[in-house]
Symmetry: C2
Subunit: 134 residues, 2 copies
DNA sequence: ATTTAGTCTATTGATTTGGTGGACTAAAGA
DNA sequence: TCTTTAGTCCACCAAATCAATAGACTAAAT
């Protein structure tokens, strides 16, 4: 399951996608509209900004906004930025690979099942973008 | 990602599937062969037994064994027994459904994406069985 | 009766999750 | 230039979960 943080992140960025082109949106507005704890959302938006999904403007009239073409931002990339691996096993993760100890069998059948699972999952998540959230 | 517990569970049950028909296998043997901490494995096997995946025999010559047709035991069912939900959001889980607060929009687009994801994932995990692990 | 092997309860240390509080900095506008 | 607005950064926290471990108990075989 995705963490609450990730669920909030998706709600927030989806909201910003809808509001795209209408100028920056304040954290307070997003928090109220999407019912997300303010300080928690603060941290989440900052993280999304550091991962280059969002940009922000300080001071009056400031806030966060999406600065990328929403059609090019995959849902998979957002999940990876917030929660990390999408694959169910470290040894089949494309972006967070870690070899599993004692899996000396050259062709681990467990691995095979989870590669197939990963591919099925990613086929959806890599091809869905922010546009699919609005 | 699957918990370590779940990874151990899969290794253990896969080992027992290979050894099927050859009588009970002791926890100690499984622990050594699959490099799983003994006491942790103990708890895991007990849980798998309580979920009716395994049966056991006490005393000398005892141990754990698979008592079901391995072709009928899906990988999805094992994951659910140990880690719980496979879906990425509570509100799209088939077996562990929980409604998400404040998702008053009748057709939540986020939900839609994750239903599709769930279905793609389950299409693999529901159709792979213990036979695919050996 | 002894050995073997599973069962049950409970505790534990480390890490992650889901937050909160408060000080600081940059920008706009009067 | 002062005030207000709004993002940034740091530090901390309680509760839950994870990954085990310890030890006493029970059932079966010889």
């Amino acid at each position: 399951m995705l963490s609450k943080k990730n669920q909030y992140a998706l709600k927030a960025i989806s909201y910003l996608t809808k509001k795209m082109g209408k100028g920056p949106v304040s954290i307070v507005e997003i928090a109220e509209k999407k019912k997300i704890p303010l300080k928690f959302l603060e941290a989440i938006l900052l993280e999304l900004k550091k991962n280059d999904f969002l940009d922000s403007k300080k001071g009056k009239g400031g806030g966060y906004y999406l600065h990328k073409d929403p059609g090019t931002v995959s849902i998979a990339s957002i999940i990876r930025a917030i929660d990390g691996p999408i694959a169910l096993l470290p040894c089949v993760s494309l972006n967070f690979y870690a070899k599993c100890e004692d899996c000396h069998e050259k062709s681990c059948k467990i691995k095979k099942v989870f590669i197939e699972t990963r591919d099925a999952t990613l086929k959806v998540l890599e091809n869905k973008t922010l546009l699919d959230l609005i």
